[in-house]
Every structure is written in structure tokens, then in C-alpha cells.
Symmetry: C2
Subunit: 445 residues, 2 copies
């Protein structure tokens, strides 16, 4: 019989703390990332949870005898002395003089791809994805997903600080949230059910309970198209807030969240930002422009003749992004008041001009990363809007519980985590920023 | 054109801050929870995001004129003066003298159930669940899910402080993680795929990348049985850690996490703990006992004749829970070294006695809330174990990438969030602790 006291005793030292151990003996654990044999000594690069640590092997101070057994991707425990020196710029650098190495495990085979260069060179994306458990060991690939962690962490921390409650809505739904197309169907003990396209109806319902809620969870879209910016399963960061005075409160909350996220990345994820040479935007204010004004601007400034007056095509978004950067010095641009015909049934029309809505998209460097807006909260208004759109309110009885029994003025938004990560890091394909992407051709690994 | 600066200006004051506004005029927003008309005045209870605030209406200080229009579940903005007094015990209490009320929205109908008593009285669970968007407005129901937020927040915060990386594994899988039974099948553009039963294979793969990982996400089990402790969709809190020295490192990490969670609930969720009269356990150390020793103990202490020597039945778990509380003064008990035949293919056998495994369950007040253990990390050993179990290693090629190309000694565990919430709050049915439960009979709301 043994007792566990939950006190975590760490015998290893993290690289960032080496400065406190100068000249002292420490232990590190990790993978052998690379071995570079030199004349009379060797560099042994150890890959730990977040760093690459340069260790130096030399017979005069290493008790361990380097032989062929120690190979790349072996898991080891290294005992050694922290040694500091100055780099060319005069900054402190630290390495480890190896005293001893204990091999914890050995791989069964040589790697099928080279992962220990700065980046994966000339490897097709499909191979990178097929071998994700291995290709992600490359420090640059790994950094992408540490940044992705930072984005969701920032979103959550900021909203929590603003009184939002974290929720978990069910992913097995009886009805599709947005009306029924593009949903994955599932046999559920003889009933036909759907995978959630969005937590929309649940997050609205819970505004009536917690006032402000957020969720970070998978959503599923059975879209047939195979593009570089769509996935069939992705992570949606959603929030919904009650008692708003205007739909601009939602945009302002998003602005605050993005500021917090970018600042978090620059500080707590500086290592990964550096590895990826990521251009993290500086946000002071985010400008906004009305949909129709943006359409006019596209004609006037860019002579771009719109093909669709109800929405933007990708090229229009790109032009607006360029304009916002050049004229307003902003990486972000809100476009507001989208036409009523293009927004979902729960969107509130602008009382001043019901052809348009109290809704917005957020463009980031010319790519849409958010859709949001104020929702209808009055029962009668929502039922009438549904009927006008040819929907049957009886099918939405549960959804309408919110409106029927009292809802505050409210609204919210959704951000695709992988798409934001992709664009922030300058990738052209969302799969680069997705650990295990699901698309029309891929469900493995 | 307007700019959003992301600075959140709050015009309302939270109840917990009323002490700083004694005698001052403040604004609050919320739902009218209850109106109690007295002779010459009225109590108007306003339900905000986390509190019930007693407001007092009286013609002599209220500009607003109370009439029938102001009803329960109306959303309002109340302007009033904070007034303090002493309660029977001499503690400060605060209420609001209503100056003015602005109605933001009105419900379309009277509530179908009474939600403004201390708890939902004599309402069948099925009705509570059918009306979740409404029933959860009851402060006691709402508190359950605020506690649930606290549990996942504590799990995440503690693990993040220990260097764990948050991951998001795909929920659409090509193969079932645990071998293929009890999975929901899905048609995916003509391919048969499965909903994830567990993030097991992904979290192991990512130990090779991040060393320590965790995930809080939905899992899906197509189990036919309809019991009070099982759901077909639930939230799994999983972690996996590499470079362990012993499987007890995993148990110790869980002990640390549970200590942190319980402390967080006692401090930051004290309001909800009080509403629910929840008995939050005090954890100093968690004792552990070997599976076979526990079986012996059940015979010796309780004369309980086991029906199955490979696992415990619920009654055995309950007896062990009682024993741990009485003899060891612990609400928790680890049971270790389960028989090899009852644990999954990736479980590491005990080298000292391969009939048993380096695995554990955690019992909390006599209910299993965790399964965990050390995993096989050697490629040859894992392939041999699979073959011995009649599995085809070729079908697990992606999974075995980890082992083939180097894996550290590692292990982890999973905790069912709803089940832990249920047992912590003393419910007998997991549906009481699930916002929108999915079982064999229920997929709505």
C-alpha cells in the first residue's frame, strides 16, 4: 500500500532555466534529435518538450561512451554540466557538457523522412500529413501547433476574465442548426441524427442562463468541395453574450480578445514565433466599414466589378485587406451590415434598413476569419422571420424556448481556429495548420 | 466608418463588488427572477450572470411605477442605490433601492415550470431535461454547470502549469481506438468511418511531439445499455505524459490535479458550492491498493464473494469506497495492477508478474472515475502483444508509427467529466450533471 501526495518532484531542468544552473550539473530528458560527430568530440542535440538543447560529448569529460547504439529518435536521460558562453551578438548561450547518458528506449527503424533540419524540406504535404505523428517532431511543424494552443488559450483566458462561462454543447444533434444542408447523417439506435455544424442554438439558449458563454469544440460540415481553406471537421471558437447595447459590443469584445491573443503569442510563445518567423499583428484599433460602402469602394478604388451584390468573393476580400493595410494601417477590417438575404434566420435585421442586418464579418489580411452579429431575441419577431423564410417554427420548438420565455438582446460570433492559425502563420493551405485534417479525401491518420 | 478599440467598458456592477458601492447609485442588468409584493413596497429579485440580487421597490424612492407589465423572466436594466445592513449573524448584506427600471425585453408566455424557488421541486428529470434551456435558469441547476466548468478549468490550469500542451484530436476516425465494438458508424462521402471513442491513439502519438499533452473533448460510445451512470456522448478529460519513471508518476499527477481542482472549487466557486451544499473533499494523500489485495480485503472484511476475479462490480467498488473512508479517512482510493486480460492492448504488463498490468483505476467515494496506466512503448513488444490478442498489427500502422520511430516510457488516463460532477455533487444519475444528455432514448434538446 502506497500513498500519492500529488507533489510533483521534477528531477529535470528546462532549457529556459539553464541560466540559473550555470556551471552546475543537471539532468534533461528528451529525444536524440541529431548527432554531429566532429574530430575528437560530438554535438548531440536533444529535443525536449519545447526546445532543442545542444549537448557536447567528449571523451575527456563524458563517462558515457558514444557508439552506434545511440541513434536519432532514441529517448534518453542526459546528465551533464551547464556551460555558458557568448554568441556573436554578445548574448548568453548555454550548452550541456555530457557526463552520462541513459538510454530509455530505442526506435525500431530509421525515420522515413528527415525531421531534424530547420524545416521539412521538399516533402509533399500529403506525406507530411500521412506521417503526422513523425513529421510533427520537426521543431517548425511542432511550433505551428504550440501557436494554435496559444490562440485558443488566449481566447479562453480573455473571455473568462470578462465573465464568460465555458460550455460544452452536444455534437450529436437531432436537427441541423442552420437548416439542414451539408450535415453528416448518423444512425443513432435507429433514429437519424446529425453531427453538429455549429453550437449556435445551444450557445443562444445558454445566454438565458449564464449571460455570457463560450465554447471551443469540433464542428462538422459535410461540404463536398475540396479547397485549400475548408475542412470537414474543424475547431470552432464561439462566444455569445447577452445584454448588449449594440452589435458593436460583440465586435469590441472580439477586438479585445484578439489583442489579448496576439500579446500572449508575443510573450509566452516568443520561442515558437521566432522559429516560425511569424508576423504577429499589432492591434490598436480595428476599423469597420459597411458592406455597401465596401462594395462601392471596390468599384471606385480598384475598378472591381462585383459579380454578387449579396456577398464578397475571395478576390474582393483580398482587395479590401490590402486597402485596410495601406490606407488604415490595419491587418484587420470589420465589414458590417451584410444583406439580410445572405445571413441565417436568427440574424437581426437593421431596424433602420431591414434589407441589411446587424451582422459583421472580420477580415484578417484579406481573409474572412469570423462571422457574427446580433440575434433576434423577440419571440414574435423570430417566428415571423422563420415563416417569411419558409421555415416551420414548430420544428424549432426547443430553440424557441429561449425567445418564448425571455431573452435579452444578444449576439455572438464564431472563429475557425485552424483557418486563423493558417493565415497568421502565412500558410496557403489550412491543412498545414491542422494536426489531423479531415477532408473529402482524407480521414487518416 | 467606426473603429473598435477592444477596451471593454462595463456600466454595470457585479454583486460581489457592491461592498465598494455602499450608498452609491449603480446599474445592474438581468432577468426578473421573482417579484414579491408587500404592503406599500415590493421585493424584486434580479437574476444576473451568477447571483440573485434583492432589489426593493417603493413609490417613495422609485421613479419607475411597478405595474403588471414587469413580469418574471423580463430582461431589465435596473438603476438603484446600494444599501447595506446586517443580517442575523452580523454579516453585511446588500440590496438595491430601485430608482428606475428599463425593460429590455419581455417573454411571450408564462413559464411552464416554476424555476424561482431554491430548487426545482417535484419536477420529473425527463421534464427538467426536455426544458433544459429554461430549467437551467434555476440557480441550483445553474450552479451544477458552473461547478462543472470549475472542474475542467482546474484540470487544464494544473496540467498547463506542469508543461502539458493542449491538443485537439479528430472526432471522425477511420478505425475505432479500442478495437471496434460500441462505435457509432458514419457514412463519410462513401467511406465508413467512426466517431471517436477516445483520443487514446492520438494522445500517445503526440507524446512523441510535446512530451506531455491533454485534451478535454467529447467522446462517443454506442453502448446499448441505459443506466444511470452511462451516456452515449460525454466529455473526456484525458492526459498522457512521457518520460515517466514509473506508472505511479501518472497517479501522482492526477492526485495533484484533483487537489488543485478541489481547492479551486472551494475558493473561486464558493458561491455555487454553497448553493449546492456540495461536500468538496479534502485531499492530502490518496492511498493505493493492489487489485488482488483489494479482492482479498473484500472477502476478509466484508465476506463479499467475488463473482468476477478480473474486475470489480459496482457493489465491490462501493465497499472499497466505504473501507477507504473509514479506515484511511480518504474519499479517494487508487486500485492498481488490474489483470492483464481486462485491460486494453496498449497497457503495459507488470514485468514482475505479467498476469497483471501497470494500470490503475481511481475510485471516488466508491465509484470509478478514472482508468489509466503505463502504455507499451517498445515496438516489438507492442506488435507481439497485439498478435497474442489476435489483432492484426498491419491495421494499426499509423498508431505504431510512434513505437516504430521511438517512444519514451509513457502513460496517461481519462476522467469522465459528467460522472465526476455527478458524484461530487451527490447525484445518483449522470443526467443531472449533463447539460444536454444523449442516451439511447434521448437526442433532444
Amino acid at each position: 500500500m502506497k500513498n500519492l501526495n500529488g507533489e510533483i518532484i521534477t528531477n529535470t531542468v528546462e532549457f529556459k532555466d539553464f541560466k540559473n544552473y550555470d556551471g552546475k550539473e543537471v539532468t534533461i530528458c528528451g529525444y536524440i534529435h541529431r548527432i554531429r560527430e566532429m574530430t575528437g568530440f560530438a554535438f548531440v542535440i536533444v529535443r525536449t518538450a519545447r526546445d532543442l538543447i545542444q549537448c557536447v560529448y567528449a571523451p575527456e569529460f563524458s563517462e558515457y561512451r558514444l557508439d552506434e547504439k545511440l541513434c536519432e529518435e532514441a529517448c534518453v536521460k542526459v546528465l551533464g554540466k551547464v556551460v555558458s558562453s557568448k554568441d556573436a551578438k554578445g548574448n548568453d548561450r548555454y550548452e550541456l557538457q555530457i557526463h552520462d547518458i541513459k538510454i530509455l528506449s530505442l526506435p525500431a527503424d530509421n525515420l522515413p523522412i528527415v525531421i531534424n533540419k530547420k524545416q521539412l524540406d521538399n516533402i509533399a504535404l500529403s506525406t507530411v500529413l500521412d506521417l503526422r505523428p513523425i513529421s510533427m517532431r520537426n521543431p517548425k511543424e511542432r511550433a505551428i501547433f504550440k501557436i494554435q494552443e496559444g490562440i485558443q488559450r488566449g481566447f479562453r483566458e480573455f473571455l473568462s476574465s470578462q465573465g464568460f462561462t465555458e460550455i460544452r454543447s452536444p455534437k450529436i444533434n437531432f436537427a441541423g442548426a442552420e437548416g439542414g444542408t451539408n450535415v453528416f447523417k448518423l444512425d443513432y439506435f435507429g433514429k437519424q441524427v446529425y453531427l453538429a455544424q455549429s453550437p449556435q442554438l445551444y450557445k443562444q439558449a445558454l445566454v438565458g442562463v449564464f449571460e455570457r458563454v463560450f465554447e471551443i469544440a469540433p464542428v462538422f460540415r459535410a461540404e463536398h468541395h475540396d479547397t485549400s481553406r475548408h475542412l470537414n471537421e474543424y475547431t470552432s471558437m464561439d462566444f455569445e453574450m447577452g445584454f448588449i447595447e449594440s452589435f458593436e459590443d460583440i465586435m469590441n469584445m472580439e477586438t479585445g480578445a484578439l489583442k489579448y491573443i496576439m500579446n500572449l503569442l508575443k510573450t509566452e510563445y516568443a520561442n515558437e514565433v521566432e522559429i516560425l518567423k511569424a508576423d504577429i499583428p499589432e492591434i490598436n484599433e480595428i476599423p469597420s466599414i459597411k458592406f455597401m460602402d465596401a462594395k462601392k469602394l471596390l468599384v471606385e478604388k480598384f475598378k472591381y466589378k462585383p459579380s454578387d451584390m449579396k456577398d464578397f468573393d475571395p478576390q474582393e476580400e483580398e482587395l479590401l485587406g490590402k486597402w485596410a493595410k495601406k490606407e488604415l494601417n490595419s491587418d484587420f477590417l470589420f465589414v458590417t451590415h451584410y444583406p439580410s438575404k445572405k445571413r441565417p434566420f436568427y440574424t437581426m435585421d437593421d431596424p433602420e434598413d431591414p434589407e441589411y442586418t446587424l451582422s459583421f464579418d472580420l477580415l484578417f489580411r484579406g481573409l474572412e476569419i469570423t462571422s457574427g452579429g446580433q440575434r433576434v431575441h423577440d419571440y414574435k419577431a423570430q417566428v415571423e422571420k422563420m415563416e417569411k423564410l419558409g421555415m416551420n417554427p414548430a420544428e424549432f420548438e426547443t430553440y424557441l424556448l429561449l425567445h418564448k420565455y425571455g431573452a435579452p438582446p444578444h449576439g455572438g460570433l464564431g472563429i475557425g481556429l485552424e483557418r486563423l492559425t493558417m493565415h497568421l502563420l502565412g500558410f496557403k493551405n489550412v491543412r498545414n495548420a491542422t494536426m489531423f485534417p479531415r477532408d473529402i479525401n482524407r480521414v487518416t491518420p
